[in-house]
Symmetry: C2
Subunit: 195 residues, 2 copies
DNA sequence: GTCTATAGAAAGATAGAC
DNA sequence: GTCTATCTTTCTATAGAC
């Protein structure tokens, strides 16, 4: 049997990568508490022992999975001027229950119940998506408006995809996009109109 | 020993009520997966067996806890005209990490990772807060705008209280209220301005 | 009406062989 | 580099005594 006979047999880096991918999938689908180390191991084609060998513990595995998942942009583009319309459209498309099930917001919402997972995710938000979005906004309170935009994204993802409430899953996508575009626009301005 | 010697000894209704109160507290603090039947029982001063005797299973106990928790209004008032400012003020006050830790949104956010819990909560939202808020809004798409408002509430609660991100916990409450008031206002109108 | 005791399953983590 | 086997804990749920 050659070394290329089986995928990544006796290849530490490839095995580690396979475990990490399986972990992202499992944590996104079932959350921190709902995903087991055995389950991740089986999906990666290894035993549970190897997971702890490479990552130390379930908690550290989760931390790496979160960091990887949060590193790439999801619904926020690069153009500040087009932000409201573009973000609203992407949000409506990706929160459809039939959409791609692998994204950082599902991972976040399904793991938020665990206190340790919440800490890990708070730090990852500050390092990745929070920083990215803050850079797109202008004004003195850009940081807090950026996190309010994140709140809206997470909230819509919760109601429309995780809880799947009828009024949002059945809503017309175009009208939904209009409403959300208005919301994001209200948060793009540095100072709101004081009533 | 008289029958009033100890609180609710041999009083089925009072014992049941004590268990339900303890369950709401535990599920709100730790979520569906994080709260154990033993823990609930101990807080109510009974054994774990009684919990299942009165409620059948952990899942049914959770269903009753959710229904009770979602039944009363939290941040949405009775006056439609004052909705944006009043809701924004209440939301900022109650999502402060030092605020009262017993509310339906924390219960919801910390339990959303469990699929069965998500179903139970979806139904409770339709029965209680979704119906209440829909009644306050006018226009043909009131139902979907009501759930968008709920999305904003839940999202802010997640970021500011559950995850406790620095930019939101450290933000000036007055300015936060202004921003959120603008967001709610954008969702109060039946049809948004098309770009 | 409430208890003790326990069944039965599943979790995270580790020891030690090859 | 990866395995089998197991330790220890924790969970929900139930049987049966008083």
């Amino acid at each position: 049997m050659s070394v290329t006979d089986q995928p990544r047999r006796r290849d530490a880096a490839a095995t580690r990568e396979a475990i990490l991918r399986a972990a992202i999938e499992a944590f996104t689908r079932a959350g921190y508490d709902g995903a087991g180390v055995r389950e991740v191991a089986a999906a990666a084609g290894v035993t549970a022992m190897l997971v702890n060998r490479y990552f130390g513990s379930k908690e550290q595995l989760f931390a790496e999975a979160v960091d990887r998942s949060f590193a790439a942009p999801t619904v926020v583009g690069a153009d500040p001027a087009a932000l409201p319309a573009q973000l609203a459209a992407a949000l409506v498309a990706r929160t459809d229950p039939a959409s791609e099930p692998l994204n950082p917001y599902l991972l976040m919402l399904r793991s938020a119940g665990n206190p340790r997972a919440a800490e890990i995710m708070r730090e990852a938000i500050g390092r990745h998506v929070g920083r990215r979005l803050t850079g797109l906004l202008t004004g003195p309170d850009a940081g807090e408006r950026a996190e309010l935009v994140l709140s809206v994204i997470a909230g819509v993802w919760l109601m429309r995809d995780v809880l799947a409430t009828p009024a949002l899953t059945g809503a017309d996508p175009g009208r939904l996009k209009e409403h959300l575009s208005g919301v994001i626009q209200a948060l793009s301005r540095p100072s709101p109109d004081p009533a």
